[in-house]
C-alpha cells in the first residue's frame, strides 16, 4: 500500500464570516523552531483591511442592537466551542514553541476569558450607568454604548490568549472588530476563526487578518471609519504613529504594552468600558 500523505491546512483570512485568501495573493512562509513544519500564512494587504472594515461596519448595527443577554449567550457559546477543540489548539500551540503545560494553561485561560466576559456582557451597562443629580427639572442619566468599529493590533507574544483577551471585551460591549493577529505566532488566530465560525457570532462582527504589522499599522490607524484603535506592543515609533493618525477623526486610542496576558488582572469590566461612548440623557420631568 502506498504511504499516506498528511493533508495540510491552508491558513486563510477571516472576513465577514468567510475565509478568503488575501486579495494580494502574497504569502508569508512560517516555520517552526525545528524547521520541520512549514506553513503558508496570508500576507494581508491594505485592501483586505478595507474589505474587513466594510464587513465590520455593516455588522456593527445588528450586533449592537441585539439584547445584551443574547450577546452574553453567544460569547458563552464561543467558550464552549473552544473547549471542544482543545486538541487542535494543543498541537498548534506546542508547534509554536510552548510546552504542553504552558499550552494547556493558555487554552484554559482563553476559554475562561470568554466565559468571564460572557458574564459581564449583560451587566456592565447597569454597573457603569448612573443617575446624575441636577438642579433643574430633569431626570438626568448616563449610560455606556458601543462605539462602533474597533481596529486592533493583537499582542505579538501570544498566539491565542492575547487575541482572545482583546476580542472578548470589545464584542461583549456591542462593537465589531478587525484584528491583526500576532505576526510571529499566527497559527492559532485562524484556527480560532474556525471556532467563531461554528459559534453564533454573526459574520463581520469579528474579522481576523494575518500579515506584517509594519505594513498595516498605518492603514489600521488612519482609516476614517475606525472608531477606536487598540495597539498592543512596545515599539515607541508605532505607539506614536497610532496616536498621530488616530487624531484624524479622533479615534479612541487604547495601548496595552503587556507581555504576559495570563494574569487575571488583564480581565476586567473596565476593558469593556474602554470601547464605549458615554451617552447622557436629559429627560424633562415635573417639579
Amino acid at each position: 500500500m502506498s504511504q499516506r500523505i498528511d493533508i495540510q491546512k491552508t491558513y486563510k483570512l477571516f472576513i465577514g464570516g468567510k475565509f478568503p485568501r488575501t486579495e494580494s495573493g502574497r504569502y508569508i512562509k512560517w516555520t517552526d523552531k525545528n524547521e520541520t513544519t512549514v506553513v503558508n500564512i496570508c500576507r494581508g494587504s491594505r485592501k483586505d483591511f478595507r474589505n474587513a472594515m466594510v464587513s465590520a461596519r455593516s455588522a456593527s448595527g445588528g450586533w449592537s442592537s441585539r439584547t445584551a443577554y443574547n450577546r452574553a449567550q453567544i460569547l458563552y457559546r464561543v467558550g464552549e466551542m473552544l473547549e471542544g477543540r482543545r486538541e487542535q489548539f494543543m498541537a498548534e500551540l506546542t508547534l509554536q514553541g510552548l510546552t504542553n503545560k504552558q499550552a494547556k494553561n493558555e487554552i484554559n485561560q482563553s476559554i475562561d476569558r470568554f466565559i468571564y466576559y460572557a458574564g459581564w456582557a449583560d451587566k456592565f451597562q447597569q454597573v457603569f450607568s448612573r443617575v446624575n443629580p441636577v438642579s433643574l427639572p430633569y431626570f438626568n442619566f448616563t449610560l455606556p454604548e458601543a462605539t462602533g468599529v474597533v481596529a486592533a493590533i493583537a499582542p505579538d507574544d501570544t498566539s491565542l490568549l492575547g487575541l482572545v483577551s482583546i476580542i472578548a471585551p470589545v464584542i461583549a460591549g456591542g462593537n465589531s472588530i478587525v484584528i491583526l493577529a500576532s505576526e510571529s505566532l499566527p497559527l492559532s488566530s485562524i484556527s480560532f476563526a474556525e471556532v467563531l465560525h461554528t459559534s453564533d457570532v454573526p459574520g463581520g462582527v469579528i474579522n481576523i487578518l494575518t500579515g506584517y504589522r509594519s505594513e498595516l499599522i498605518e492603514h489600521f490607524s488612519s482609516h476614517m471609519d475606525v472608531n477606536a484603535i487598540i495597539y498592543c506592543g512596545h515599539n515607541t515609533d508605532d505607539q506614536k504613529l497610532v496616536e498621530i493618525n488616530a487624531a484624524l477623526n479622533v479615534k479612541h486610542v487604547i495601548q496595552f504594552p503587556i507581555q504576559d496576558w495570563s494574569n487575571d488582572k488583564h480581565q476586567s469590566p473596565y476593558h469593556i468600558l474602554k470601547c464605549q461612548e458615554t451617552k447622557t440623557t436629559w429627560h424633562p420631568i415635573g417639579f
Binding site: R50, M53, H219, S222, H223, M224, D225, L248, N249
Partner: protein
Amino acid sequence: METINIQKTKAIDQVNTRERVSRLFSRSIKNESKMQALYLALSMIDLTTLEGKDSDGKVKQLCYKASHLHYKHPGLPHVAAICVYPTMVPIAKKELEGTGINVASVATAFPSGMADINAKLDEVKSVVDAGADEVDMVISRGRFLSGDYNYVSDEISQVKDACGKAHLKVILETGELVTLDNVQLASDIAMEAGADFIKTSTGKVSPSATPPVVLTMLEAIRDFQIKTGKKIGMKPAGGIGTAKQAIQYLVMIKETLGDEWLSPNLFRFGASSLANDLLMQIMKQSTGQYQSKDYFSID
C-alpha cells in the same frame, strides 16, 4: 394605428455575453484615469428617491445634496438629474432652479404600469406641465410577455407624443423579462417607438440592472445607431451602489459604444447611494485615507 414591424435581429448568446462582461469588468482602472472616471460617473447620476415615505423635506434635502455634493472638495461636478415621483416635481423644480440640474419624474403608473392608457397619458402631461425635464415611463410587461408587441410599441409612441419637449426614458424592467432575447426585443421596440433613453429597471424588482442585461441593451443601441443613425441613451438603474461597479460600467460603454456615450447626455446611473461611494473614493484618492460615511451628507 400604424403597426411597427420588429424583426428579431439575432439570438443572444448568453454564455458569450457573460464571458465578455467578465473580461470587460476585470480591467484595472487606476490613478488619474480612475479619478477622471469617478468625476464622470458623478456627473452621470440621476439621484433618485422613489419611496412611498418620500416627503417634501426629503426631496428638498436630496436637491440640496445634488447641487452641493461635498463642501470639503471644491470643483466637483453636480449630478445630472433628480428623479422623483410626480407629486414631488414642483418642489424639486423650485429647489433646483438655476443649478442646471434636470428634474426627472417617473410616470405611467410606476412601478407596475398597470393603468389605463388615458390615465398614463394624463399623468405624463401633468408632470411635463409641472416642469419635469425628463420622464421615466414603464412598459407594460404583461402585454409584452403575452406577445402583444404592437400594444407596447403604440403605448410608448403615445407617451412620447405626450412628453412634448421632455426627454423620454423607457424602463424595460428587465428583471421581469426573463431572457436576454426579450431584453433585446424590448430595447428595439422602445427605440423604434421613440425612446430617447432606454433604462433597465424600476429598482423595485429583483434582479435589477445586471451586467449581461446592460451589455445586451448597449449592443441593441449600437445596432440601432448603425441602422438608423440615431443615438439613444442608456440608463442602468437599481443595485449600482459602489464606485467600482460604476467604473466597470463606464468601461463597458466605452468598449461597446465609444467615447461619445461617455457623457451625461447619453448615459445615466439611476442610483441613490452611489453618489456617496464615489465621493468617498474621490476623497480617498486625494487624501490617501479610507473614508467614513460619517463625514458625508446623508443620501
